[in-house]
């Protein structure tokens, strides 16, 4: 374990420090002998692949879990919290990866939960609560009415509400576990502004993330973990992305640089003046073997486009054509028959059957093919599913265990495989790489590239511009429900895409 | 690995069962082949919740307590024929020395009582009958005779009211499949058919229960403008009808006639004394006869009881109560 001296002339007491922390979950050693410290006023990134232990470390440091051995010191004094509320009282807060918010409560109520000061105000009057909460919302950068029920907001806004909640705690140490996984570029900017403000106030921030670009922008120091152990800590300025990735993975990997695609040929999907309640006259052609990235800000209509293609959002105008003629969207089953497939954004809610097995999830959309007169042919089913899962390097202990036991990345691969078994001609992917680790992302890029080579037309929604730019032939940019422009791969840069996404014309 | 829920359930169950099984009533049942110790007498009662039957149970317990070397167990089928069949099936398994049954309904209980007979258990059929004579003996009261007495009483009352035998009658029936119901109604109807001006306006089924009778009577009161007589096949139903009429303020308009005539605070006799019922007809519990015959069956190996024993009934009115 290597530790460099922290930035600055003097040595301030760490805001939080762990020594020799270990934790075992069943048969897995999640952390072993971890020494780590967080200084006040620094942004300290924690990186590692899935299962490296960074989330576990964050949860222990925030009081949610107790270590099996080792010591935690807050501001120099040893502490033994029995729960996250005690940690909160000591000024340590955490924004979890699986947002523990409640859809049926309002924004203000969600923020007040677990915050004694605010909860007291809630009993007094709801207005008082809203007023107390509003400045936090502004700080976090969400322009919503605190009385809005959470269920009415989109996923990215949920994350911002979670951020506002931690802000309202006036914590001195904040752990953020994948805080930008559901955010778009502009929301990320606002978050960074908040982080900088907090930093200036002396708050220590631990930033757990996969996203190299963000880490290198916002953090002062980076700690890499692998398989439950500390690998290295160094100042951000002293290292590179490749070096960090190598330390995370233990092998050199080229992330996000998929093989350059070939020239597309015939149109598999023609869209003319597609309009729904939220889309305005969108027109484009998708060629077979083409990967079209779909970029845009929150609520620009990207997911809506997918829903329109399936017929889940009613069309108010426009015509669609597939390779074999006119296509009238009429629902999922009709789309499947026309060989269209949509991989939804929220894999847990809309995509997978968590308690059913990996095998069952993989084949559920294509059971017809592995059955005769309604009777399942177990052998064929298993062969086909295992085959496909292997090709996408999906890792699982046992195909008959529930898919909920897999890591996020492997779950996403199962979800993708499910649709691949329907042999689609047009595939709409809604944020397929959200919240998964670098290694899995790589596998998915490879899979998508292969599909394109096989002639499938792919529409790919993502908020991570670098991956979109690196892997698409063209990028369509939506702005407030309308098509702002389509950029060729060569001319697509983060800036040019942002220009269009924010409603400006293409660069002169 | 997901634990299967049946495991902890049955553990919890084991505790409950042991607790239940430790109650003094549920001691080991002895077979008939143990003459020196206790012989088991099982009484399958169709419904403890009726006052008539509760009185039967009390009388049963009292009388059997006086017979040495016997132990009585009473099962309550809660007015559910399927349950009674299952209970008797299981009772057959423990081979009691004597089985007494008050059948819930005629048809359903026929077969299972036959099976008890085939298993060599003497069966006494109490009060109600079954579709075929699958019993050692049947102790009955003469419901048809009661029906006739009711019929005549009503005719006399109507003659006194109108000067001629005419009037409007409302009937409240018990469970339709039961002999008492069939004969109490048949007996009365047989009397009334000779009087064309005596009209049975409507009949509602109230399953022998007071609360149900009150509901049915409320509906009838809404539909029928003028009623002279309410003939309920048992006292609780008559009481229920009275309560319904009183709620509507019409209780003086009609007279209420019931059957059972039990003693005690809640019994029909008291209601006659209070003037609520115009008359009731004592319906013998039949229990004393059952115990008498049952004891002889147990103690006299060669005893062959009659197939049917009929108990008699009599009317109870204010006048009869006034006499010493």
């Amino acid at each position: 374990m290597i530790a460099f001296s922290p930035i600055g002339n003097h040595e301030p007491a760490p805001a939080l420090a762990c020594t020799g922390v270990s934790k075992r979950y069943g048969g897995v050693q999640a952390l072993s002998g971890v020494d780590w410290e967080l200084l006040p006023g620094e942004v300290h990134a924690l990186c590692g692949e899935n299962g490296a232990g960074k989330s576990t470390l964050a949860r222990i440091c925030a009081g949610i879990a107790r270590p099996d051995s080792g010591e935690i010191r807050r501001g120099g004094c040893a502490v033994a919290w029995s729960g996250s509320d005690e940690a909160r009282r000591d000024g340590v807060g955490i924004i979890l990866q699986e947002l523990d918010l409640f859809a049926n409560l309002t924004v203000a109520e969600n923020i007040a939960l677990g915050n004694p000061a605010l909860e007291a105000r809630r009993w007094v009057s709801f207005d008082a609560l809203s007023r107390a909460v509003a400045p936090r919302l502004e700080e976090a950068g969400i322009p919503v009415d605190p009385t809005t029920p959470l269920g009415e907001l989109g996923v990215s806004q949920w994350q911002l509400v979670a951020i506002a909640r931690v802000l309202s705690l006036d914590a001195k140490v904040i752990f953020m576990d994948e805080p930008t996984s559901a955010l778009t570029e502009d929301a990320v900017e606002r978050l960074f502004a908040v982080i900088r403000r907090l930093k200036a106030r002396g708050v220590a921030i631990a930033y757990v993330s996969h996203k190299m670009s963000e880490i290198f922008r916002i953090s002062d120091r980076i700690t890499v973990m692998r398989d439950g152990e500390m690998v290295a800590t160094c100042a951000t300025g002293d290292t590179t992305v490749d070096a960090v990735i190598r330390q995370m993975v233990g092998r050199p990997v080229t992330a996000g640089e998929a093989t350059p695609p070939e020239e597309p040929k015939i149109s598999v999907l023609g869209v003319r003046n597609l309009s729904t309640r939220k889309l305005r006259r969108i027109s484009f052609d998708l060629a077979d073997g083409e990967i079209m990235g779909v970029a845009g800000l929150v609520a620009s209509g990207r997911s809506e486009l997918g829903r329109a293609l399936l017929g889940l959002s009613p069309l108010t105008g426009g015509e669609l054509t597939l390779a074999d003629g006119t296509y009238l969207p009429r629902g999922v089953r009709h789309a499947m028959r026309s060989l269209l497939a949509l991989v939804p954004e929220d894999r847990r809610r809309d995509g997978l059957f968590m308690r059913m097995s990996v095998l069952e999830n993989t084949t559920i959309a294509a059971l017809r093919r592995y059955s005769r007169l309604g009777w399942l042919r177990g052998g064929e089913e298993r062969e086909a599913a295992l085959d496909l899962l292997e090709q996408s390097r999906t890792l699982f202990a046992d195909a008959d265990l529930p898919v909920g036991a897999l890591s996020g990345g492997n779950q996403q691969k199962v979800l993708l495989s499910k649709w691949l078994l329907t042999f689609p001609k047009v595939l709409f992917l809604d944020d397929p790489t959200r919240g998964i680790d670098v290694g899995a992302k790589d596998d998915i890029y490879r899979l998508i590239a292969r599909l394109a080579r096989d002639g499938v037309g792919i529409l790919w929604v993502s908020s991570e511009l670098p991956e979109l730019i690196a892997n698409s032939h063209r990028i369509m940019v939506l702005h407030e429900g309308g098509l702002q422009g389509i950029l060729e791969s060569a001319e697509a840069t983060q800036e040019s895409v942002m220009r269009l996404a924010t409603g400006h014309g293409p660069a002169p | 690995m997901k634990k299967h829920p049946t495991l902890p359930i049955t553990l919890g169950l084991a505790l409950a069962l042991l607790a239940a099984g430790c109650r003094p009533q549920a001691q080991q049942a002895q077979a008939a082949a143990a003459p020196a110790s206790q012989r088991l007498v099982v009484f399958s009662q169709c419904n403890n919740a009726e006052p008539y039957r509760a009185a039967q149970n009390a009388e049963m317990q009292r009388l059997w307590d006086g017979v040495p070397g016997t132990r009585l167990l009473i099962m309550d089928a809660q007015q559910d024929s399927a349950k009674q069949i299952s209970q008797i099936e299981t009772a057959i398994r423990v081979a009691p020395s004597l089985l007494i049954v008050a059948p819930n309904e005629r048809a359903p209980l026929t077969e299972v009582m036959g099976r008890a007979m085939q298993a060599g258990i003497p069966v006494i059929c109490l009060e109600r009958d079954i579709a075929q004579p699958n019993y050692t003996t049947w102790i009955r009261a003469d419901n048809e005779a009661i029906g006739k007495l009711v019929g005549q009483f009503v005719v006399d009352q109507l003659k006194a009211k109108y000067g001629e035998p005419r009037g409007r009658i409302v009937e409240l029936a018990g469970l339709k499949g039961v002999e008492a119901e069939i004969n109490r109604s048949g007996g009365a109807h047989g009397v009334w058919k000779d009087y064309p001006k005596i009209e049975i306006v409507t009949e509602a089924v109230a399953n022998w229960l007071q609360s149900t009778a009150k509901d049915r009577m409320t509906e009838i009161l809404a539909a029928v403008p003028q009623i002279d007589v309410v003939y309920a096949r048992n006292d609780p139903m008559a009481m229920g009808a009275y309560l319904a009429a009183r709620e509507k303020g019409r209780e003086k308009e009609m007279i209420f006639v019931g059957v059972d005539g039990l003693e005690g605070e809640a019994g029909g006799i008291e209601k006659v004394r209070q003037g609520i019922l115009a008359a009731t007809f004592v319906y013998p519990l039949c229990v004393d006869k059952a115990v008498e015959i049952g004891t002889r069956i147990l103690n006299e190996p060669g005893f062959k009881p009659e197939k049917v024993y009929t108990m008699t009934s009599h009317i109870v009115t204010k006048e009869t109560l006034a006499k010493p």
Partner: protein, 333 residues
């Protein structure tokens, strides 16, 4: 990846699991059972054991179909009323109807008509639930009330006695109350239900629909058709149970079957099927039915008050549901 042998071993382990509970109850029965004349254990006598199966036959048959309904995310409260409807209708058809048909044909026609109508009632339940989007609890509650009313009305709220002579109704009773017949029917249906649930596309769809309806919609599964099919099966099963009931009681009684749905649901729940849907096995349901049957039998052999019986049943149900909540594997892995 697991080997076939490894899968087989684990499968065997899971196979025996549901039986552990049943074995425990049976052991209890043996322990608490009264002794017979020769010292034999009455509980274990062949006659007693088949009695148990017989007494649970109606509930058992209905529980099989109810399992499918619950797995797909629904519930059917109307089964008790449909049972009474079926028992009364077969009574009407065998006693009041006088066609110029030989007895056998009349019985066959009556049985077929009753089963068909049971299925129709189920279809009505299913269609209204899936098309008009009424909650299953609400719709089947309404059906429970409505069918009961229909049954009482069509019989004039009187029993239809089957008699003991040679008439069609009496012959029907003799035929359909035979132990071997009832047990065979139950066994065949149980095997069929198990195969449907575990080996067919339809069964797979039911589990998926109950597990996550949103994902099922996104996957293009025939949610409405599958759910309706489960209700049709439930209606037909209740009608079949009604035929057995009528035969055993020798009458068609419009007031029978009250609260039977609760026993059916209890059997399903004790067998490990969660009321929230997505999980459950036929084997579990059969075990749950048998556990209830064995318990009732042991209590009756011990002459325990029938009201205590009810209280114990209540305890079972509470414990079963509570244990399921605790056992549910966390989805956030």
């Amino acid at each position: 990846m697991s080997t076939a042998a490894g899968r087989g071993l684990r499968g065997a382990h899971q196979f025996t699991r549901p039986f552990i509970g049943l074995i425990l109850v049976v052991a209890l029965g043996v322990f608490l059972s009264p002794r017979g004349a020769g010292g034999g254990i009455i509980f274990l006598s062949g006659g007693n054991l088949t009695d148990i199966l017989l007494q649970q036959g109606e509930i058992g048959i209905m529980a099989l179909a109810m399992t499918l309904v619950v797995i797909a995310g629904g519930i059917d409260l109307s089964v008790g009323s449909v049972l009474a409807f079926s028992a009364s209708l077969v009574g009407l058809l065998l006693v009041k109807w006088e066609p110029r048909l030989p007895t056998g044909a009349q019985i066959a026609a009556a049985v077929a008509a009753v089963l068909l109508l049971g299925a129709v009632i189920g279809a009505v339940n299913g269609i209204i639930i899936t098309r008009l989007r009424l909650q299953p609890f609400v719709m089947t509650l309404a059906a429970m009330i409505g069918v009961r009313g229909l049954t009482r009305w069509m019989t004039g709220n009187t029993n239809i006695d089957f008699g003991f002579d040679a008439a069609a109704s009496a012959r029907f009773s003799d035929l359909f109350s035979q132990k071997p017949l009832i047990l065979a029917v139950w066994a065949v249906l149980a095997v069929a239900a198990h195969l449907v649930l575990s080996r067919t596309v339809f069964g797979r769809y039911l589990r998926a629909i109950g597990e996550n309806e949103k994902a099922a919609a996104f996957t293009g599964l025939p949610i409405r058709m599958a759910r309706t099919a489960t209700y049709v099966a439930c209606g037909a099963a209740a009608a079949l149970a009604g035929l057995v009931h009528a035969a055993r009681s020798h009458q068609g009684n419009p007031n029978d079957g009250v609260a039977y749905e609760l026993d059916v649901i209890a059997a399903v729940v004790i067998g490990g099927t969660a009321l929230s849907g997505g999980q459950g096995t036929i084997l579990g349901t059969v075990t749950g039915t048998l556990i209830l049957g064995v318990l009732t039998n042991v209590l009756r052999l011990r002459m325990v008050d029938s009201n205590v019986e009810l209280m114990i049943k209540a305890v079972i149900i509470i414990v079963a549901v509570w244990v399921q909540r605790r056992d549910r594997p966390s989805i956030n892995s």
